[in-house]
Amino acid sequence: MAMLHIVNKSPFEKVSFRSCLNHAKAGDSILMIEDAAVGAIDGTSFSEKLKAAMADKTVYVLGGDLAARGLSEDRMIDGIKSVDYAGFVDLTVENETTQSWL
């Protein structure tokens, strides 16, 4: 049963994103919203950890939240998909359950 993990904290501030990656199973999806959007950027102290998770999980970012932080999508790790709120709703429909890592 696939789960959508919704993360809203920066991986440079809180441990919830790392906890999420440690618990998410193969085939799950991870959506970065709010402050977690900064985790999408490549070349950081966190990016290798996220890339490792992307081997068997799909990672998304809420594009508006990335833009609101002055970050361009071309700085993202390759393979991360940008979605809008409609895409966010679709992800909650496609996955049987959701977990918010508050």
């Binding site: 919704i6 809203n8 709120y85 966010f88 709703v89 918010s100």
Partner: protein
């Protein structure tokens, strides 16, 4: 598909009250149904009508209230969380011997059982908070 949305963060606190509102709008725009929105912890502050932000700022409480009117949404505030934070409807203010109430139109005060029922009745429960 039926959704229950849980909001644990107050307006203007960080971003989750705004995120929840935008998510709710997107759910409705795609033709899904919102069974209930449950406001818990500081999230109960989304239900006051006495908030007066600067004129060029959004009024989150009013946006929930208007969305509720437009789509006949069930917006429920947790009673224990509301009492702690001074969110009162007329009946509750009277029961507590208070001189005023402040709940905004479209919200109602009830218990945590409403969240459990929301989780059972909806196909998806999505939580927003800080």
């Amino acid at each position: 598909m039926k959704f229950t949305i849980m909001v644990n963060e107050g307006p203007y606190q960080h971003q989750s009250a705004d995120s929840a509102l935008q998510f709710a709008r997107a759910v409705l725009a795609q033709g899904h149904e919102i069974f209930r929105v449950f406001f818990y912890h500081d999230g109960v502050n989304n239900g006051t009508r006495l908030s007066v932000p600067p004129a060029d700022d959004r009024l989150i409480q009013k946006e929930w209230s208007e969305l509720s009117k437009e789509h006949d949404l069930d917006l429920v505030i947790c009673i224990a969380a509301a009492q702690r934070r001074g969110i009162m409807d007329e009946a509750e203010a009277k029961r507590q011997g208070l001189d005023a109430d402040n709940i905004i139109e479209g919200f109602r005060i009830s218990g945590l059982g409403q969240l459990i029922e929301g989780g059972i009745e909806a196909d998806r429960t999505v939580v927003f908070g800080d």
